[in-house]
């Protein structure tokens, strides 16, 4: 009869050990996220209420709610996505489907990668110079959103490029072979099969915008506003900035307030990210190859 040799048994033990190691490391990665959420919930839940969500901050931001900051964040995110999304997707389609591989396009690709690595405070200064001062938008929702879209463009372009590349070249060739033009091929073959990846990138960038503080600091977000923004040329408040303000700049804020604000912000971002994951898995089940 065949008996496992010592060598085989040792191998099995090693295999088990390695598996345990990997699962432990993975668990520890998950731990910080869990602890942060729990901690915020424990410290902040006492302040959470419908009033907190739907009231203005009052008494020098030491009481009331955070409604204007939620509205402001909403504005900033929506406008920045509406600007960045079409621009990014169009640029990615050009780079992936039309552009020849030459020095110029390589420089463009490199520039996009570098743009992704620029710190957000530098984006803020750029936004201040370009949108607020040069284009005379003033500190406004518009200027802040545009700054956010510049920051998000590389993310959207890169994720779109990846998902366009994931469509097999043979599909394009088959489509060209029967006399479909480049544009028809993109419209009927390439885009329908890369939508999930594109959407994922977009939604993740939405989450990133919602949490961004530095980029909107000089360009459109106010410390405190007694009214809601009436147009895109008004300033607004934002969740992330408000969190910074009440935790460091204002005296006498109830202990639970910053935690509750952070909790709202994180839940907002988490729900956007889960939307991205849900979209991705939904489209994956409908994936056709």
């Amino acid at each position: 009869m065949f008996r496992p040799s010592n060598h085989l048994i040792l191998k099995e033990i090693k295999e088990k050990k390695l598996k345990n190691l990997l699962s432990t490391v993975t668990f520890f990665l998950f731990l910080p996220a869990l602890i942060i959420m729990l901690w915020l919930f424990v410290k902040g839940s006492s302040a959470l209420s419908l009033d907190f969500l739907f009231m203005d901050p009052i008494e020098g931001m030491t009481a009331g709610g955070i409604f204007p900051t939620i509205v402001g964040t909403f504005w900033l995110v929506i406008i920045s996505v509406l600007v960045a999304c079409p621009l990014g997707v169009i640029a990615a389609i050009y780079l992936s489907e039309y552009a020849k591989d030459n020095t110029l396009t390589r420089i463009i690709r490199l520039a996009i990668l570098n743009l992704a690595g620029v710190p957000s405070i530098v984006h803020a200064l750029f936004g201040l110079g370009a949108f607020v001062l040069f284009l005379k938008m003033g500190t406004s929702i518009l200027a802040a959103s545009l700054t956010l879209s510049v920051m998000n463009l590389p993310v959207i372009i890169t994720s779109t490029l990846e998902s366009l590349k994931a469509v097999p070249q043979s599909y394009r060739e088959a489509s060209w072979n029967v006399g479909a033009s480049r544009l028809q091929t993109i419209r009927h073959i390439v885009l329908p099969n890369s939508i999930p990846g594109i959407l994922t990138g977009v939604v993740f960038s939405v989450g990133r915008s919602a949490g961004e503080t530095a980029a909107i600091l000089f360009t459109g977000v106010a410390f405190y506003l007694p009214f809601l923004p009436q147009s895109v040329f008004d300033q607004c408040m934002s969740l992330s900035m408000h969190l910074f303000t009440i935790s460091t700049q204002v005296v006498g804020v109830p202990d639970a307030y910053p935690y509750a604000t952070a909790l709202v912000l994180i839940l907002l971002i988490l729900s956007m990210n889960s939307l991205a994951v849900a979209l991705r898995s939904y489209f994956r089940t409908r994936r056709k190859w």
């Binding site: 020849k100 043979s170 599909y171 060209w176 006399g179 479909a180």
Partner: protein
């Protein structure tokens, strides 16, 4: 058989280069209307590159350099900047089966739809007609709306043939159409091809020498980007060759 030989395609001094080496060098070839021209030859001899030139798929390959000219019905195919119209006149079946990620029906109607056909009845007719010609109709007629990518390799290959016929091409190019197909189905398709040549011209690249012998009117032997031999099948396969290597290749000694 063919009483009057009309030149459908004339290839003049065609040279194709992918950077360093000439894949096709200075090739001259006439293809007549309503014939089946079989192209044989060992790997790397430029057979597929030749087909890709015919429908200008080389346009999409930035490293390809092409010189010389190809005339179709006496007009240069390189005349128009836009090659989509040319591709509608040529049906191309590539060696690897590609079912586009849509339903079987949408696959077959893709080309006519892209050319602007919206008539549902006509599209239905095209689906049935082309799938029958590709010997696939009986297997899929009950599930035309299921995904083409779920078909087996051989079925996808026949779907590719159906798709290549769907836009009523004047010239049909087949690159190794039978690799993924069983012999019985291959025979069915071959008989369809013999039928089709009454109305269109067929260029067929094949590694199966018997297929070239069975199906072709003429056969061209390619090696290293040149045509060693081209002649009517009754001559070529009965020892009348210019180059000894053709005879050896046909008999299986070389290649």
């Amino acid at each position: 058989m063919v009483t009057k030989m009309i030149k459908k395609i004339e290839i003049k001094n065609l040279t194709v280069n992918y950077g360093t080496k000439d894949v096709i060098s200075n090739l001259n070839l006439d293809i007549y209307q309503n014939e089946i021209l079989a192209v044989i030859g060992p790997a790397n001899s430029g057979k597929s590159s030749l087909l890709k030139c015919l429908n200008r798929m080389q346009d999409f390959n930035p490293s390809a350099r092409i010189s010389g000219d190809i005339l179709m019905d006496g007009e240069s195919i390189f005349k128009d900047e836009d090659s989509t119209f040319l591709r509608r006149r040529i049906g191309m079946v590539s060696p690897l089966p590609v079912g586009l990620p849509m339903s079987i029906k949408e696959n077959v109607t893709y080309a006519p739809r892209m050319a602007g056909c919206k008539d549902a009845q006509e599209l239905d007719f095209i689906v049935e007609d082309c799938l029958k010609k590709a010997a696939l109709w009986d297997e899929v007629k009950d599930r035309l709306d299921s995904l083409a990518t779920k078909l087996s390799g051989g079925q996808q290959q026949r779907l590719t043939i159906a798709r290549a016929l769907s836009h009523h091409p004047e010239v049909l190019c087949l690159d190794e159409f039978s690799i993924a197909i069983d012999p019985v189905t291959t025979m069915k398709i071959e008989s369809v091809l013999s039928e089709l040549k009454k109305s269109i011209t067929i260029v067929m690249v094949t590694n199966v020498i018997n297929q070239a012998k069975r199906l072709g009117d003429r056969t061209a032997m390619m090696l290293n980007g040149k045509i060693l031999d081209i002649d009517r099948n009754e001559n070529l396969f009965h020892g009348q060759v210019n180059d000894l290597r053709t005879k050896q290749y046909i008999e299986g000694f070389f290649g």
